[in-house]
Amino acid sequence: MIPELGHFALLLALLLAAVQATLPLAGTWRGPARWMALARPTALLQAAFVGLAFAALLWSFAQADFTVAYVTRNANTQLPLAFRLAAAWGGHEGSLLLWALILAGWSGAVALCSRTLPADTVARVLGVMGWISVGFLAFLIFTSNPFERQLPGAPDGNDLNPLLQDAGMIFHPPLLYMGYVGFAVAFAFAVAALIEGRLDHTWIRWMRPWTLVAWAFLTLGILLGSFWAYYELGWGGWWFWDAVENASFMPWLVGTALLHSLAVAENRDAFKRWTLLLAILAFALSLLGTFLVRSGVLSSVHAFASDPQRGLAILALLAVLIGGALTLYAWRAPGLESGSRFGWRSREAALLLNNLLLCVAAGSILLGTLYPLALETLGAGRISVGPPYFESVFVPLMVPLLALLGLGPWLHWKHVRGAELWRRVRWVAAGSVVFAGAVALTWQTSAGTALGLLLAAWIGAATVAQHLGQWRPGQPGATQRWRTFTGAHWGMVTAHLGMAVFVAGATLVSGSGATEDVSLRVGDSATLRDHVFTLRRVEDARGPNYIAARAVFDVAEGEGAPTLQLQPERRFYTVQQMPMTEAAIDRGFTRDLYVSLGERLPDGRWVVRLQLKPFMGWVWSGALLIALGGFAAALDRRYRRLKLPQAFPLPLGEGQGEGPPTASPLPHRPLTPTLSPAGRGSSLP
């Protein structure tokens, strides 16, 4: 009964989405103007019904209703309740339902938070989101119904893939989808602006917080996925340039470009068409990611659910939505004015370069991901593109970007005087070189590691120095100046510092880690860089749905007494008949110790992999700071007070969120507040 209710709720949601996609748009065009008012209620009701459907699916999992085919495929009575609920999005149908739920949630949020926008704008934006909803709900209902019954029911289910039975995996898909689908809002805004043929800068201001939130969620989602791969796959790696990872990384890169171009568009009224294109592309890449993961065209290390038949449906959806948006772009964008001009030595130009580098990076990843497919389709043979390609293409693109990242906030809009800039940054630059050089010499690192450290030091020092230069603590008025820092400014500082931390961690962990594969008998010891690992015993352990061998290691530093105990496990999941490694990790500020237990050899020894990962925690905390920066910038007060001008065609600033001048007063200042670009960083592999 409950699954049928869920199914029925989905059908109703589809009908509501169809109304949301058509009548409000018609209302803005020729139809009765009151049709526009349908946008909000239909979006909210649609969200409610998709929510109901999702609740019904959760209920079926909680009840372990094995007459529902999807539940039988992904859950088992021995599976703990939390994982059983998370199994709702462990397979294809449920992932799609989660996608639809999050899309409906974002639509509902737009409906609720758009009181200050004119009715026709709301109608267009929600109308466009309605089209996306119709596409996904129809796809869900007609090709991948999660509520399909199988009668008679199975006595017990197949269990969830053991790799997914993990807390990280409960939250990874929802966060990632929040990001993917969140770009739908920016996309809907861009398309609505193209339909209307007008893009003023209040619009752009309105797009910014939504894009920031989506982007911050995407950052968290990628972080969690990578974190999960690190501790759960048992190899100790954290980024594999796997097709699925690339699929989430490409929208992130373009989304990062979008954030920065939005900053220019808001502050300087430039980059307008380019911003619209980026908004379309960010969502296009999110959809492409969904397509690649779900269609099975790419075989991936973790393609958990894929089906070529369904691929065609997603491709059709992609063609209609993105093809439609780009056609509209080609038709309407030339009519939009292109905005103000700027010189090549200016913050605008630096951000343009940032955009170019990010887009080229995303493009090369796309190329690397699709190249094997392309060659094969052309019948030109088979190759595989792996980490060597991605690293050799991606890293050289990131080096100038990271160098620019430290410099960017120092640059003035419109025009930069080179000599003055140099006078201001020279000590920071010299200090970073000295610091990185000293560290590299002390630790005897390679040239690549030294460069990475230099970039990290430069970004960190330049960001802090720039902030202090604005605040000027200790001088009169410091308190007032402190208060005038905006959320956007704090967001930028946090995210850029996060980037510095991340780059330092990523550089050190890939440049100077240590790995040792050994086979040990109980009582044996192995040494890895001063750490002595002694295998004390191996005992049997039993979990709810697995049996395991658990090894107990004492770890001592040098000659000293053991200071630490690590207990890696080798599990065997009984229902899926799958062996799994559960690594034991001791996390520290400067290093992670990582022990994974392998097979037992015929002579009774155990295969053990010991790893020392220097500064691994910095990778995670850096990425976390980047995401926090995104949220902080989205909370900027001026977005909440946002009002559309009623009488004036020119948007007027409210004086809120005015950042302190970055330098000597600029001759040109728009009426709206000028602020530091709420920019984010970019990433190293």
């Binding site: 093809g323 292109s338 062996p579």
Partner: protein, 176 residues
């Protein structure tokens, strides 16, 4: 700028057309491999922990056998091992593991728990894999008694696929 305004649309159209084409191919990868109906490419490779003599397809002429390309760095290969073992037992057909671009130690470790392979041969530089058109692991080939490749499966074998697709082929070949 105006000249480039159509560029994103055209690029997207090309991408979509290409994805559509590869989708069609993905749907049909189960059978068409250029190797089907042709003799299995010959090789002589060192064996892992087997007899010291190298192994080649000729050693199995007169028997139906399965060639499975795998590596210890391939997670789906690990999941596939029990399925292969079951298939081999049920059909009474030997499985030869082509250990692709791998280290013998790592390979040995992975096989400690489940070892479906009657023979495991080491293709450390991937040259034989190239002859067989291996581009993503795991891949599974069925070779008949005359040394002709009769079937190819790309990707990890699930129990259902083994039972519904490979087993009938094996039974049919054995019946002849």
């Amino acid at each position: 700028m105006r000249r480039f305004i159509l560029f994103p649309l055209l690029a997207f159209a090309a991408l979509a057309a290409f994805l559509g084409a590869s989708l069609g191919r993905a749907q049909s990868t189960e059978l068409p491999s250029p190797l089907i109906g042709k003799p299995a490419p010959a090789f002589t490779l060192t064996q892992l922990d087997g007899p010291p003599a190298p192994f080649g397809p000729r050693d199995f002429s007169g028997r139906v056998w399965i060639l499975n390309a795998w590596a210890s760095w391939c997670a789906p290969c690990r999941e596939e091992l029990p399925v292969l073992a079951e298939l081999s037992r049920e059909a009474g057909v030997p499985v030869v593991g082509l250990n692709y671009k791998d280290k013998p130690d790592a390979a040995r470790r992975m096989l400690v728990k489940v070892n479906p392979y009657e023979r495991t041969v080491l293709d450390s530089d991937g040259r034989v894999g190239l002859d067989y058109g291996v581009y993503g692991l795991p891949e599974t080939f069925i070779v008949d008694a005359r040394g002709i490749v009769r079937y190819k499966h790309t990707g990890p074998l699930s129990r259902e696929q083994a039972r519904e697709k490979l087993l009938p082929v094996l039974r049919q070949l054995a019946g002849k």
